[in-house]
């Protein structure tokens, strides 16, 4: 196997352009794929590319998560409460070993329908910053992940960073993952909820995203809309109707029947919302 180490971002893009090999960063998807029979003529190791590392930081109205941020780094980072769902998701990725090496960008680019990190980011309207030969472009995460193992990343591009709009008001979030065991588990379904309220404690932003219930993680706009203008206390009592879950199309697989997963998604969303509302309440206005 032709193993190339990219020296910097330009080198990574150039190697990608000329060789077309997949990138390897944390290795937590590539090496299992090889064990599972995938054959790559080579790999481009981007783990030493400084531009993809660095602090998780705020720049203006945005939080910047470098591509190579690991789940452990997310857990340890000082971040506002809108990131609580992401931190919870991070602590439920695989085991500690995977959290120490697996990266946010890898999770997104691998584009598993059950990617643990995507719902919480999606619920915060995250954008993906992509570097290519002609510079940078930005894509909403919702548009970046196209389907099962499919992204908008072009053959000569690399995911540079994830950008999350800093929510201006009082914000809280929560994450729920359902699996058949406690650790090292691929979810049957999962949900992330982000809520923001105004001074009058009315919901002004609701972001809901569900994973493992379709070919990719999805937002639930009808449910979000139903929460707008409600008081914090009402969040949990908004009775979900089937239309709320209409975007979901879970499959039958070894982890559960589609019918069950859809039902579970509704339960998890509601629990995440209630937890987020609870956290909103706990915050001093």
């Amino acid at each position: 196997m032709d193993y190339r180490r990219a020296a910097d971002l330009q080198d990574a893009v150039r190697l990608r352009q000329s060789m077309g090999y997949p990138f390897v960063a944390g290795g937590t998807d590539i090496y299992p794929a090889i064990e599972n029979g995938a054959r790559f003529p080579g790999l481009i190791d981007v783990s030493k590319v400084e531009a993809l590392r660095g602090e998780i930081r705020r720049e203006g109205g945005e939080w910047i998560i470098p591509a190579m941020a690991t789940w452990s780094e997310i857990i340890a980072a000082k971040l506002p409460s809108q990131f609580d769902a992401l931190k919870q998701a991070a602590s439920e990725v695989g085991g500690r070993q995977i959290q120490n090496t697996g990266t946010v960008a890898g999770n997104i680019c691998n584009a598993s329908p059950a990617a643990d990190g995507i719902p919480a980011l999606m619920a915060m309207d995250a954008k993906i910053s992509v570097a290519g030969p002609s510079g940078m472009r930005e894509v909403p995460l919702e548009k970046f992940v196209l389907g099962n193992r499919k992204t908008d990343l072009q053959g000569d591009e690399i995911l540079y960073a994830v950008k999350v709009p800093a929510r201006p008001g009082r914000t809280a979030s929560a994450f729920r993952k359902l699996g058949a065991r406690r650790y090292l588990v691929i979810s049957i379904a999962m949900a992330a909820a982000v809520l923001e309220c105004d001074a009058a404690e009315k919901i002004v932003y609701a972001g809901i995203s569900v994973g493992a219930c379709a070919a990719r993680s999805l937002r639930l706009p009808a449910w979000e809309k139903a929460l707008h203008g409600r008081s914090i206390g009402e969040v949990g009592s908004v009775e979900p109707v089937p239309a709320f879950l209409a975007p979901l199309a879970p499959m039958d697989d070894i982890r559960g029947k589609g019918e069950y997963r859809k039902h579970a998604a509704g339960v998890l969303v509601r629990e995440a919302l209630v937890k987020a509302a609870e956290r909103l309440n706990e915050q001093v206005a």
Partner: protein
């Protein structure tokens, strides 16, 4: 153009330029490819085999090392990424004086059983131990959750870590006490904690060739192999290809001489997905580059014969000419007339279980070498002597010409009873006259080795007005897959156990093992009894409810008691602790019944329940001779050596035998030296299976000690009652006067021993006659467990909160190890009940096949009931399988108690339980409209 090509070449050469790696403080120069997995580099290039590989996919954590102080799976890190960073492996732990205490805690507190996960566990624990903060148990679980253990049930691992973090001293072993009954240190524990124990993949000679198997992608097919010479020519590094016609002796193997129906290499037809058709023997460097897809074989797929119904379908293909109806074997236990004797109160049920995979963390592995006209195989196995005989049959040489050297075994549970790599390795090394090694991938380990039998059971139980059981009828069909393996053992053991540990005068139990082209089913902890126990324990609850009796009292009323006669006509005169086990659970049972009712008063979505599971288990093989021979010898210097052919698969038999040997000779246990499982040096102790080693080999040890003392008395003309003391290299005999035996004056054998005696024990069983009457087992273990669960009625999830486990073990030879067996058995029983189902091609890795993790284990409270079996060595029976059998029934009964719905199919996954609740109108709804 040329220029750019050149620079490409220059860049490419970087791949093989030496990389500097810093491991445990030492610098190494490594020439492996930059993309090589760190785990492979550590093991193959640096010889640091303490780091284990369990899955190569980040699913098991066995290969956990620290990089820059952080735990990572070394199978997911490239050599290039690790270069220049501080890598720490288990071999480096000793250098950190503070962490030696962590290793000691693991050894002393029973945190290591087979030990294959121990290095990974220690490294994960080392990461947290260096952070100066106080750790809650929950936080420890979060940090340890990425490492799987299949033996211990995790409890003692967390205990050891907590103990170490507490800074308290470890309990000092009581040197004066008798060894039997005390918590002596696991004799091979330190080698586990230091990573020096050699497992199947850890001793491969440098010059060994590697073996790669060409396996069928079809469940059922015929095939033709093409030009293999061309394949050899076109693949540099391939030394030769081996197919069925190359097998020197008989191309067949199996557990029983008369059931050798599995070919080493398929001849023209494959009967399951993954069956081997050819073996490619290559130089080490070539193994990575061979593309198995280019191997010349053409397949003609046939209709698979899938599932029990598929196998029984009259239109199904016949899988073996000797079994025209695709029924491998039938078993039965019939006594009396069930129809005529049936009581007034009858309950019945149907139950279903799936394939269950052993999922030991060590994949099958070993190497073989030809030594003149002898064959030597170093291999992970539960059955070295059966391997020896099987390999001799395959090579067509006398069995005295085969030497099996069992490696440390990284978990067995029945899965390493059948041969795995041995047949192919033997043929390959025989033909090439070079050492050949083979390590199964996780996928091979899961796809091609035997599983627990899927079962379909129908049973009915009746009692009279007084609640005394009258009749039990039972039929189980087992999917045994394409080859016999241990299928006959399951089919014969189950009918004898199917009525449970109860006094049932009239029984009609039948079984059938059906051949299919699904995965091979064989031995797995309990040989079918765990599946049967799900049925009898469900019916016991149903019948108790029908009679309006307390479920525990109903079991006590019907428990087998000393003096009872079982279905086979055997009278169980003593050591029948079933009732004592139930009595032990009684206080918590009644307390919890009340607590559960109170909880459910307050809670709608979450419902609690408590359930019971009971079991009995015949120790050793069913109605078959199953002897063990153990040898004790004394050297001229007074050194005492126990030659034990009983394989320690993590269950701790090395320690148990040491304890028994020590007490039988009245010496301290640290005076006993062990020579282990080498078929040239030790004697046949039989399989490490059927929970038999403590009972059978333990008796052999006691007999050997007795004979040794007898021969010393004879040598010194001492009377039969003369006491013998082995002290400081001397032997003193005190009859009328004290005589010192001059060991140095006696002639020594090749091994330097001057005295050597063999103890031979075969349990007093008999064949069953045509009416299944006889003595199938010499000893029976009994157990009762109760489980407290909480079911989420909305999501269908089940959390097991606590398990109370009462086990009649006869005598707890080493309470730490007995507890470890029970905790580990409970973890596997919990897996069987709630999450484990092997589906060929779908769950053949450790992320789709789920075994319990650190976070899935309930609190466990253990009651050891010691009934002292008069036939058992020091009164001991067995615990390996009994630990697992009652758990799933207890959990299922608890779920029923909580939900008023009875799950009859395992595993009770959230999706399945939700459907059951939903369909019976008991589920809670999340979405209106």
């Amino acid at each position: 153009m040329n220029r750019s090509l050149k620079s490409e070449e220059a860049e490419r050469s970087r791949e093989y330029s030496p990389v500097r790696l810093r491991v445990n403080g030492a610098e190494y120069e490594v020439t492996s490819p930059a993309g090589a997995r760190l785990a492979d580099v550590l093991r193959d290039d640096l010889g640091l085999t303490g780091t284990k590989i369990g899955c190569n996919a980040g699913d098991c954590g066995a290969c956990t090392v620290l990089i820059s102080g952080k735990q990572v799976c070394s199978c997911l890190v490239s050599l290039d990424q690790a270069a220049g960073l501080a890598v720490e492996t288990v071999e480096g732990l000793q250098k950190d004086s503070s962490l030696r205490g962590l290793q000691a805690a693991f050894v002393e507190l029973g945190a290591a059983q087979c030990g294959i996960c121990t290095p990974g566990m220690l490294m994960a624990a080392a990461e947290l131990a260096r952070e100066s903060k106080s750790w809650s148990r929950e936080e420890i679980l979060d940090r340890m959750g990425g490492v799987l253990c299949r033996c211990t049930g995790y409890t003692k691992i967390v205990d050891a870590i907590e103990h170490y973090l507490s800074g308290q001293a470890l309990p000092a072993p009581d040197a004066k006490a008798p060894a039997v009954g005390s918590r002596i240190t696991k004799v091979d524990g330190l080698s586990r904690a230091e990573g020096t124990a050699r497992y199947g993949a850890d001793a491969t000679p440098e010059d060994a060739l590697l073996l790669k198997a060409v396996r069928s992608p079809h469940a059922h097919a015929t095939f033709v192999i093409g030009d293999t010479d061309k394949f050899v020519r076109e693949n540099p590094g391939v030394v030769r290809v081996i197919t069925a016609r190359d097998v020197p002796g008989k191309n067949e193997y199996g557990i029983f001489d008369h059931y050798r129906d599995q070919p080493v290499l398929a001849e023209s037809q494959v009967r399951f997905n993954g069956e081997v058709v050819a073996a490619i023997i290559c130089e080490r460097g070539a193994a990575e580059t061979i593309d198995l897809d280019t191997f010349p074989v053409t397949w003609q797929p046939l209709e698979p014969v899938s599932g029990i119904d598929g196998g029984l379908d009259p239109k199904a293909a016949m899988l073996h000419a000797s079994r025209p109806d695709n029924v491998l074997t039938r078993g039965k236990m019939i006594r009396g007339d069930v129809e005529g004797e049936r009581g007034r109160h009858v309950v019945s049920g149907k139950f279903q279980t799936g394939y269950v995979e052993h999922a030991y963390i060590e994949p099958e592995a070993g190497f073989a070498r030809r030594v003149g006209d002898r064959m030597e195989i170093f291999v992970t196995t539960q059955t070295p002597y059966m391997d020896r005989d099987g390999v001799a049959h395959i090579l067509g040489i006398p069995k005295t010409e085969v030497r099996i050297l069992p490696s440390a075994v990284g978990g067995g549970f029945g899965g390493k009873i059948d041969m795995s790599v041995q047949p192919l390795l033997a043929v390959a090394a025989w033909l090439t006259d070079r050492p050949v090694a083979y390590v199964y991938s996780r996928l091979e380990s899961m796809r091609v080795t035997p599983k627990r039998h899927p079962s379909r059971i129908e049973a009915a139980l009746s009692c009279g007005d007084d609640g005394k059981l009258k009749t039990f009828s039972f039929h189980a069909d087992f999917n045994t897959g394409p080859y016999a393996s241990c299928g006959p053992i399951v089919a014969n053991r189950v009918p004898l156990h199917a009525m449970g540990p109860y006094d049932v005068p009239t029984v009609h139990c039948t079984t059938r093992a059906v051949l299919t082209t699904d995965a091979i089913a064989g031995a797995f902890r309990g040989f079918g009894v765990p599946q049967a126990a799900i049925a009898h324990e469900a019916l016991m609850d149903q019948l108790a409810d029908k009679m309006g009796m307390d479920r525990l009292d109903f079991r006590i009323l019907n428990s087998l008691l000393p003096g009872d006669v079982i279905s086979t006509g055997q009278k169980l005169s003593s050591s029948v602790g079933m009732k004592e086990c139930l009595e032990a659970l009684k206080p918590s049972w009644h307390e919890q019944r009340k607590a559960v009712a109170a909880f459910n008063q307050r809670s709608d979505r979450f419902r609690r329940g408590i359930g019971l599971g009971c079991m009995w288990y015949g120790i050793g093989n069913t109605s078959q001779p199953n002897p063990s021979s153990m040898r004790i010898a004394i050297g001229a210097d007074g050194r005492i050596t126990l030659y034990s052919g009983a394989v320690d698969i993590g269950q701790g038999v090395n320690t148990i035998m040491t304890q028994m040997c020590a007490d039988a000779l009245d010496v301290a246990s640290d005076r006993i030296n062990l020579v282990l499982g080498d078929t040239d040096r030790t004697l046949d102790a039989g399989k490490s299976s059927a929970s038999r080693q403590t009972f059978i080999s333990g008796n052999a040890v006691v007999l050997a000690a007795d004979k040794l003392k007898e021969s010393i008395r004879r040598l010194t003309n001492a009377g039969a009652d003369a006491a013998i003391k082995f002290r400081d290299g001397t032997v003193k005999v005190s009859g009328a006067q004290e005589i010192s035996l001059d060991l140095a004056s006696l002639p020594a054998d090749d091994e330097g021993n001057v005295l050597s005696e063999v103890g031979h024990y075969n349990p007093p069983t008999t064949d069953l006659d045509e009416n299944q009457q006889g003595i199938p087992y010499a000893s029976y273990a009994f157990a009762a467990q109760s489980a407290l669960v909480e079911v989420d009625m909305l999501l269908g999830t089940t959390k097991v909160i606590k398990i109370w486990a009462a086990h009649d073990v006869g005598r707890a030879v080493n309470p730490t190890q007995v507890e470890g067996q029970i905790q580990g058995g409970i973890a596997q029983g919990l897996g069987l009940a709630l999450m484990e189902e092997y589906i060929p091609l779908a769950t053949d890795n450790l992320h789709n096949y789920l075994i319990p993790t650190f976070g899935d284990i309930p609190e466990i409270e253990i009651y050891l009931v010691e009934t002292l079996d008069p036939l058992g060595p020091f009164g001991a029976k067995g615990i390996g399988e009994p630990a697992l059998v009652p758990t799933a029934p207890a959990i299922l009964n608890a779920i029923t108690d909580a939900t008023a719905c009875r799950p009859t199919q395992v595993p009770v996954t959230p999706s399945r339980l939700w459907k059951l609740l939903h369909d019976s109108g008991k589920g809670r709804h999340a979405i209106s409209g």
